[in-house]
C-alpha cells in the first residue's frame, strides 16, 4: 500500500527532473551570453577609443635653427619681462624657415611654407627666451610645433598618396616636409599642450586643461551643496518626519525628480539662476547649481537607503540607554550609514561629471580658451569639450576627442574606485 505512492513520486520527479535541469542550463547560457555580448561591446568601445585617442599623446614638431634676433625680441635692450613676453616670436620662426629654404621667395609660396608650422610655434621660442634671456642674440635649435595638417600627415591619418586636391597639404609643402624629414628635423614629441592648455581653433594648441578646471569647479559647487543638503534631507525624511500624505508626496516627487531628463534641469537653471537671479552665463557656479539639482534626488535616495539599512537593534540600543533621537542619529545611525551615503554621493557626482546636456542650456558650451580662475569665470566642462571637438571639422580633433573621452573615463573610474574603497574602508559589521 505504502510502496505504490512512493514509486509514483519517484517516477514523477524523474519525469520532470531532466526538464528542470535543462531550464537551468538554458538560463545560465543566456546569462553568460548576455554578459559576453556586453563585454564584447565594452572591449570594442575601449579599443576604438584607445586606438583613436592614443596618438593625441604625441605631437609632430619641427626642429628649426632659430636666430634669436635681439632687434625682433627686445629692440631697446631693456630685458623687461613684459617686452620679452610680448615679442613677435612667430616672425623668428618664419625667418628660420625662410633661412632653411632660401629658394622660396614668392609671396604665395612663402605663405605655404609658413603654413607648415603652427600659429603657436612661437610659444616654444618665447618659453626659451623668458626662461633664459641671455639666449637672445644666439641661434638655437628649437623643436617648434608643426601645423595640425602636417601632424595628421606625419601620423599617417591622412595618406600622402592621395591626389593633391584631396589633401590639405600641397605637393610643394609635401616636398619641403620630406626634405625636413630626411634631415631628421621632424619628430613626434609628447603633447604637453593637450594637457596644459585650453581650447583653441588650432588642434595642435587645443587642450583639456581649462575644461578640466571648469569641471572641477562645477563638481566642487555640486558637492558642497548637494552632499549636506541631500544627507540632511534624507535624515529628516527617514528619522524625523512623520509618515503622512505630505511626506508620501515628497517621497514620490523625489523619486520622480531622479528620472527627469537632465536637459530640463538645464532649462530650469537658465530660467532661474541666470534670468531670475542674474548669475553669470557659462559659469561653473551655475553649472554646479544645476548639477546639484540633478544629483540631489540621487543622493537623497541613496542616503535614505543607507539609513534604512542600519539595523533597528542599534537604534533601540541607543534609545534604551536614554539617547535622544538626535543623539541616536548622530552617534550611531549616521556613522553606520555614512559609507552608503558617500557611495551614493560619489556615484551621483560621477554622473554629474559626465553630464553635458544641462550645461548646453546655461552657456557652458561656449568656446573658452582661458582657464577659469574662480567658479564665476566663463568655463566649459570635459564632456562639453568632447562635444565641441567632435563637432569640429579638422581631422586632428578626432584623436583629441577620443583622448578627452579617455581622460573623462579615467576620472569616472577613479571616482567609482574611490566609492568602492570608501565602502570597503568604512563599512562596519554589526
Amino acid at each position: 500500500m505504502s510502496s505504490t505512492p512512493r514509486t509514483s513520486v519517484k517516477e514523477a520527479v524523474a519525469r520532470g527532473i531532466r526538464r528542470r535541469y535543462a531550464q537551468e542550463s538554458v538560463f545560465r547560457a543566456l546569462g553568460l551570453g548576455a554578459l559576453l555580448i556586453g563585454l564584447g561591446f565594452l572591449a570594442f568601445f575601449f579599443y576604438t577609443l584607445i586606438a583613436n585617442g592614443y596618438t593625441a599623446l604625441a605631437q609632430t614638431r619641427l626642429r628649426l635653427d632659430v636666430a634669436l634676433d635681439a632687434t625682433v625680441i627686445d629692440p631697446t635692450g631693456s630685458r623687461d619681462p613684459a617686452v620679452l613676453e610680448g615679442a613677435d616670436y612667430q616672425k623668428l620662426v618664419r625667418d628660420a624657415l625662410g633661412a632653411r629654404f632660401p629658394e622660396v621667395t614668392a609671396r604665395g609660396d612663402l605663405r605655404a611654407l609658413f603654413a607648415l608650422v603652427s600659429p603657436g610655434a612661437g610659444l616654444e621660442i618665447r618659453r626659451l627666451v623668458v626662461a633664459d634671456p641671455r639666449a637672445i642674440g644666439t641661434t638655437r635649435s628649437v623643436w617648434v610645433l608643426a601645423d595640425d595638417d602636417v601632424d595628421v600627415l606625419v601620423k599617417g591619418h591622412v595618406s600622402r598618396d592621395l591626389p593633391e586636391v584631396d589633401r590639405r597639404i600641397t605637393d610643394r609643402q609635401l616636398e619641403w616636409l620630406s626634405r625636413l624629414e630626411s634631415e631628421g628635423r621632424v619628430a613626434l614629441r609628447f603633447n604637453r599642450y593637450f594637457f596644459l592648455s585650453g581650447d583653441s581653433r588650432d588642434p595642435e594648441l587645443a587642450g583639456i586643461w581649462s575644461a578640466t578646471v571648469g569641471s572641477f569647479y562645477m563638481l566642487l559647487v555640486t558637492l558642497v551643496l548637494s552632499f549636506p543638503l541631500g544627507v540632511a534631507t534624507a535624515i529628516y525624511l527617514e528619522e524625523f518626519a512623520p509618515r503622512n500624505r505630505w511626506t508620501d508626496l515628497i517621497e514620490v516627487n523625489i523619486n520622480n525628480l531622479a528620472a527627469v531628463p537632465s536637459i530640463v534641469f538645464g532649462l530650469l537653471g537658465l530660467a532661474v539662476f541666470i534670468n531670475e537671479f542674474g548669475l553669470p552665463r557659462s559659469a561653473p557656479l551655475v553649472g554646479g547649481l544645476v548639477l546639484c539639482l540633478m544629483t540631489l534626488p540621487v543622493i537623497i535616495i541613496a542616503s535614505r537607503a543607507a539609513l534604512t539599512a542600519v539595523p533597528p537593534s542599534i537604534r533601540e540600543a541607543a534609545l534604551g540607554v536614554g539617547a535622544s533621537k538626535m543623539q541616536m542619529v548622530l552617534h550611531h545611525v549616521l556613522p553606520l550609514a555614512l559609507p552608503g551615503m558617500l557611495t551614493g554621493t560619489i556615484i551621483g557626482m560621477a554622473r554629474a561629471l559626465g553630464e553635458s546636456a544641462p550645461l548646453l542650456m546655461i552657456g557652458m558650451v561656449a568656446f573658452i580658451v582661458d582657464t577659469p580662475e574662480t567658479p564665476l569665470d566663463p568655463a566649459t566642462a570635459l564632456p562639453v569639450q568632447v562635444y565641441l571637438w567632435a563637432d569640429s571639422p579638422e581631422r586632428a580633433f578626432v584623436e583629441r576627442t577620443s583622448a578627452a573621452i579617455i581622460v573623462l573615463l579615467v576620472f569616472l573610474l577613479m571616482m567609482n574606485a574611490a566609492a568602492i574603497l570608501l565602502r570597503k574602508r568604512f563599512e562596519r559589521r554589526y
Binding site: S313, E316, L319, G320, V321, G322, Y430
Partner: protein, 288 residues
C-alpha cells in the same frame, strides 16, 4: 468590548496620578495579587493598540524593588508589548497607541512633563538579541554616562565603566581588551556587555526582553546568576519563553494570554499551584 473612553491618552494626562486604583475589569479578571511589596512601577488599566490590533487589554501590574518578575506566555500574548510600555519604547512604533497609567515612583511616565530621555535613563532595557554598538567595549559602557553627563572627568568615567563591567561579570574577561570592538565578543559576552551598558546609567528598573533567547545554556546560566545578583539593587522585569528560566530567576510571575494578564503571583505558587485553567495548561505544556 465596552465603550469606556480611554481614561488617559498617551502623554496627555495633566497630573501625575497619585492614587492608583485597579481599573474595573472588562470581561476578564486577573487571578492573583498584582501588587508588589515595594512597588517601583505601577501599571493600571494599560491598553495598547497597534493600529486596530488590541495588543494588550486592561493590564494592572506592579514592579517591585529587589525582585525579579517574569512575564511568561505564548508568542503574541503581549508580554513584550507590555515591557516596552514601561520605558515608552513603543513610542517609536508609529501605529502604537497607549491608554492607561504607568507610574514610576508615583510619577506618570506618560504625562506630558515626563521626559522620555529621562525615563529611559531611569528604566534601562536589555534586548532579545545582543546589540552592542559597533564601538569599543569601553565606549559601549561609557556611552550612557557620557550622554547623561554622569562622570565629571575621565577617571570617574573609567571607574563607572569598570564597576559596571564588574557587576555584569565581564570585567575579568575584557579588562585587557577595552579598546576592541564590542561586536567582536561572543554572544554571551555581548549580552553581558549590554547589561553593563544598561547598569552604567544606574537605572531604577531593568527591563529584559528575552535576554537569553539567542544564547547557549552556559551563557544563559551566567546571565541568570547575574540577574539574581542585580536584584539586590534593582527592580527587574524579564520576559522569557523558558518556564524553567522563569522558575529559576524570578520571585513573581505574570502569565499573559492573548493580550490579557491572566494570572499573577509568587513564582512558586504559579508553578506548583496555578489557579487559572489557562495558566495550568501553559505551564504543564498543553500548549505554547
Amino acid at each position: 468590548m465596552s465603550e469606556a473612553a480611554p481614561q488617559v491618552a498617551a502623554g496627555l494626562s495633566a497630573q501625575p496620578v497619585q492614587q492608583v486604583k485597579p481599573v474595573a475589569e472588562e470581561g476578564y479578571r486577573t487571578v492573583g495579587d498584582f501588587t508588589a511589596a515595594k512597588p517601583v512601577m505601577q501599571a493600571r488599566g494599560v491598553d495598547v493598540f497597534y493600529g486596530d490590533n488590541h495588543a494588550i487589554q486592561k493590564v494592572n501590574l506592579d514592579i517591585g524593588l529587589n525582585e525579579v518578575i517574569a512575564l511568561i506566555g505564548p508568542s503574541g500574548c503581549g508580554k513584550s508589548t507590555f515591557i516596552r510600555c514601561l520605558n515608552r519604547m513603543n513610542d517609536t512604533i508609529e501605529s502604537a497607541r497607549f491608554t492607561g497609567d504607568i507610574t514610576l515612583d508615583g510619577e506618570n511616565i506618560y504625562a506630558r512633563q515626563m521626559d522620555v530621555v529621562m525615563l529611559r535613563a531611569r528604566v534601562g532595557m536589555v534586548f532579545q538579541k545582543p546589540n552592542p554598538f559597533p564601538k569599543s567595549v569601553y565606549d559601549n559602557v561609557a556611552y550612557g554616562p557620557r550622554i547623561h553627563g554622569l562622570a565629571r572627568d575621565r577617571a570617574e568615567l573609567d571607574r563607572i565603566v569598570e564597576t559596571s563591567l564588574e557587576r555584569a561579570g565581564l570585567w575579568n574577561e575584557v579588562k585587557d581588551r577595552l579598546e576592541e570592538p564590542g561586536t567582536g565578543l561572543s554572544g554571551g559576552q555581548q549580552q553581558r556587555l549590554c547589561i553593563a551598558r544598561t547598569i552604567a546609567v544606574n537605572p531604577e528598573v531593568i527591563l529584559m526582553d528575552e535576554p537569553c533567547s539567542a544564547l547557549d545554556p552556559i551563557a544563559t546560566a551566567r546571565i541568570e546568576d547575574l540577574i539574581d545578583e542585580l536584584k539586590q539593587n534593582y527592580a527587574i522585569v524579564i520576559v522569557t519563553h523558558s518556564m524553567q528560566q522563569a522558575a529559576r530567576v524570578s520571585q513573581r510571575t505574570a502569565y499573559f494570554h492573548l493580550g490579557k494578564l491572566i494570572e499573577v503571583g509568587d513564582t512558586d505558587e504559579i508553578f506548583t499551584n496555578p489557579r487559572h485553567k489557562l495558566t495550568e495548561d501553559y505551564i504543564t505544556g498543553r500548549f505554547g
